[in-house]
Symmetry: C2
Subunit: 502 residues, 2 copies
């Protein structure tokens, strides 16, 4: 019995990753841990990939339905996709191999709001869950589980699955103990009660995951770090986007619409989000809070220096250097971080009550403030909507950010009509590019179009957008949201045909 597996009965169920993988059968639905590259199982998926490849070698069918918290890593999504072991996947992914197969039409992928996965599973909308495969940082003497670097949908998979396989990863810091808050007060309607959370740092649950021990069919030991890269230092465009947003916040404070400590921040994944966080520190903010999904290096630094006083999330997604810093001062960070199930970190009730400021990246926005977060040319998925909709719809303010061009200027991120809509005109408050910030609150569609063209468009594309808008205002069937339908998507088609929207 290792110290990480302190329950005798479960210690007796230890086996190799290969043996555990043998318990997962073709056609099963497997609910796995993992959220933005943190806390995913590291041993069994690789063994499973080998087992699936062997089955295919023999001419047998073998593919699984894989549900997770969010994105995982090459050892999970990459390995399983490569051997053709996934036939259905939800809710969020960012692995290049998996993405390529989804876009080749080989894997069915369902893109779902991260805050709604748990309730959909509970309501039976996602079918039966055969196995939960969950990484934990340890097992207590009474069988409760010390969660790992992400919580994601682990509570839900453990509760709903017929069988459970645990990966106990001794590489995850034991000092995570006490950082989690697993709320066990959820219910299905009509039995739901208010969720008693009033501030981002409130603890309303328990530090451990419960598990019906009779369901545990395997315990596998692992010893591997979360695999995450370091962010590039913010580039010029990101710094300018951050600058516009920080200036906007100061303006709102001056107008009395925000207090000095703003409101709980939600910050998406990626370089721009990281730059915005840096901008907040330089902007002189102190004592902020975050109610978000992921704590990345940039946010850890802000917690470390007091810019952010309290951060709630479902995942700690840190680079190797970030992990080092985190472990070094873990007793400090435990006072300032709460890790929750994603059902709570992204819950409509809590996002609305707390009044989150949602800051997310986008692929493109259109004249009228519709936002595409997921598709290139309306058809090729990038990562998925993630939690952006949970926050954009129900929060206090929703900001979408992108450089004004992509692919060295061949693509304008501001287009006549987006090729896919993830956030409708009704849900977008600010659009920000390095060119400037368009404040769309309280504006009609045509007023929004003027703001987007003037503030956000790149000078190379501004006259083209203005020309489209002018002609649409003249010739459109209706003048509420002026459009020329046979041109609306022509910029995207031109890019596909010629490699440039120009």
């Amino acid at each position: 019995m290792t110290t990480r597996i302190a329950h005798a009965g479960l210690a007796a169920r230890r086996m190799s990753a290969e043996q555990a993988a043998g318990l997962i059968l073709p056609g099963m639905t497997v609910g796995m841990s993992g959220f933005t590259g943190a806390g995913y199982p590291k041993a069994v998926p690789l063994a499973l990939a080998t087992r699936i490849a062997a089955a295919h070698e023999r001419g047998d069918k073998f593919a699984l339905r894989i549900l997770t918290g969010a994105s995982t890593a090459p050892e999970l999504d990459g390995a399983l996709a490569r051997v053709g072991g996934i036939d259905f996947r939800l809710p969020y992914q960012s692995d290049p191999e998996l993405r390529a197969r989804i876009n080749a039409g080989q894997i069915e992928y369902m893109d779902i709001h991260l805050g709604q996965v748990a309730q959909y599973a509970w309501c039976g909308f996602l079918g039966k869950i055969d196995v939960a495969l969950i990484e934990v940082a340890g097992i207590l003497p009474d069988g409760r589980l010390l969660p790992s670097t992400s919580v994601g949908n682990n509570k839900t998979w453990l509760d709903l699955a017929d069988k459970v396989i645990l990966e106990v990863n001794r590489r995850q810091p034991e000092g995570l103990d006490g950082m989690h808050d697993i709320y066990y007060g959820t219910a299905l309607p009509p039995h739901r009660k208010p969720i008693p959370l009033l501030q981002p740092g409130d603890r309303i649950g328990e530090p451990y995951l419960r598990c019906d021990l009779d369901k545990v069919i395997a315990v596998v030991e692992s010893d591997a770090p979360d695999r995450l890269g370091r962010f590039a230092p913010p580039d010029e465009a990101s710094r300018r986007i951050a600058g516009h947003l920080v200036e906007f916040f100061h303006h709102e404070i001056a107008a009395g619409r925000l207090g000095d400590q703003l409101l709980p921040l939600q910050s998406g994944v990626g370089n721009i989000a990281n730059a915005v966080l840096g901008g907040l520190r330089e902007g002189g903010f102190r004592g902020l809070t975050a109610f978000t999904e992921v704590i990345q290096d940039g946010m850890l630094e802000l917690i470390g220096d007091g810019t952010i006083e309290m951060a709630s999330a479902t995942s700690l997604s840190l680079s190797p250097e970030g992990v080092e810093e985190f472990v070094r001062r873990i007793d400090f960070y435990r006072q300032h971080i709460v890790l929750r199930p994603q059902e709570m970190s992204n819950h409509a009730e809590l996002v609305r009550r707390l009044g989150c400021i949602a800051m997310n990246g986008m692929v493109e926005a259109d004249l009228y403030g519709n936002v595409n977060s997921t598709h290139v040319a309306g058809s090729r998925i990038i990562n998925g909507i993630g939690g952006s909709g949970d926050f954009a719809r129900n929060g206090f303010l929703s900001c979408f950010m992108s450089p004004s061009t992509a692919k060295d200027g061949a693509i304008s991120a501001l287009v006549p009509m987006v090729s896919h809509v993830d956030h409708t005109e009704h849900d977008v408050g600010l659009v920000v590019t390095e060119q400037g910030l368009a404040d769309l609150r309280g504006l009609s569609p045509k007023q929004r179009a003027r703001a987007v063209i003037a503030q956000c468009a790149h000078p190379d594309y501004r006259p083209m957008l203005q020309d489209y808008f002018d002609r649409a205002c003249r010739d459109s069937y209706g003048k509420h949201t002026p459009h020329l339908l046979n041109e609306a998507l022509s910029w995207h088609q031109r890019y596909l045909d010629s490699g440039s929207m120009r």
Copy 2:
């Protein structure tokens, strides 16, 4: 002092509608009562229209920003639009004159989720509100206000406006007294608390509206009914849509995903919604609940005969016959109806907690489950999104319904790509036409497309949709959401060019 104006100080501020209209000045923002044709002010807007017409006659500029609960009636939106008295309007409208001017580009209209208007106003996103013009059914001796047939945003306008004009309509039933529940526990973030509502019928507030009496600059007496027509009896298509939905509910009950009493129903406006309600009665349901915006004749009948045990709404939108029945048994109905501010009837927290079943009409849906509720050919607004997004995003299940064709078959309601998105692929659970019901829960985009084509499309358009889908699966840039961008909107363009999508 009439019995309807029992406060001496306010009785002294009585004046004619013309005098009161004289207190509203050019450029002002006026927050008015009114929700789906119920409880709108009936005297002052007409006087205001006369005053505005006279000003224009003299060559003076005179236009207003008009905010309401939802749609009103010809005496308000129609009259003011006709004289060019509105330059900005939100959040929902359905008046033909107003719509024509919005679509001609003469009036700026902002289409906003009905459940978010109040918080946006409070947060300062909609600018200063100069005057609240509110219909009430009476004024109590202590100055509190007996609300009329709708509550809408009245609490918010009364609280926020600089000045208040009250219309006391003696035609509205005094028996409304005790039917309203005005919750005064809202706050701006970071001071928000859980809303203590657990069941649709819970009363968590007060039966009357509070009003700072110092702000009241005029009290006008009126005597006119809400102007609402009667529904046509359900046509064949509506009855078949209702039949598919009722069959689905029975199927879900059998599968254990819904109980015999379903979950609180939200039912949109219009004939199809009405037919569905009728279908529920015929389907043998009893003791249901509703947590919805509007109680129309169809729902009143269901309350009257016990099919619906308890209904929460923000508006009573009844035909003259409906009003007669309502008044005749008002003491009965008061036990089964609660009228709330629309901030509560449509609140994300409550819709999520209660697990509403959202049933709304749509203009069109596409292969991948995106829904357009508002625009014809992407540019011409019909009514607005209303509360459909509040319920579709946060409820238990979201159903969108439409006949499979419009305009005598010249238009298919199922298209390759919708020309405007109000509800994204992430928010649409069921699509129902008279042809059948597509259950999109848990499906990837391509799986959804197959269901929509097979279940919902009209036979005349089914081969065309299948052909588009097949070619898109072959030739699309990405195969996740297969699209041919230069064809995606061609059906709409063909309709504009030739009068038919065929």
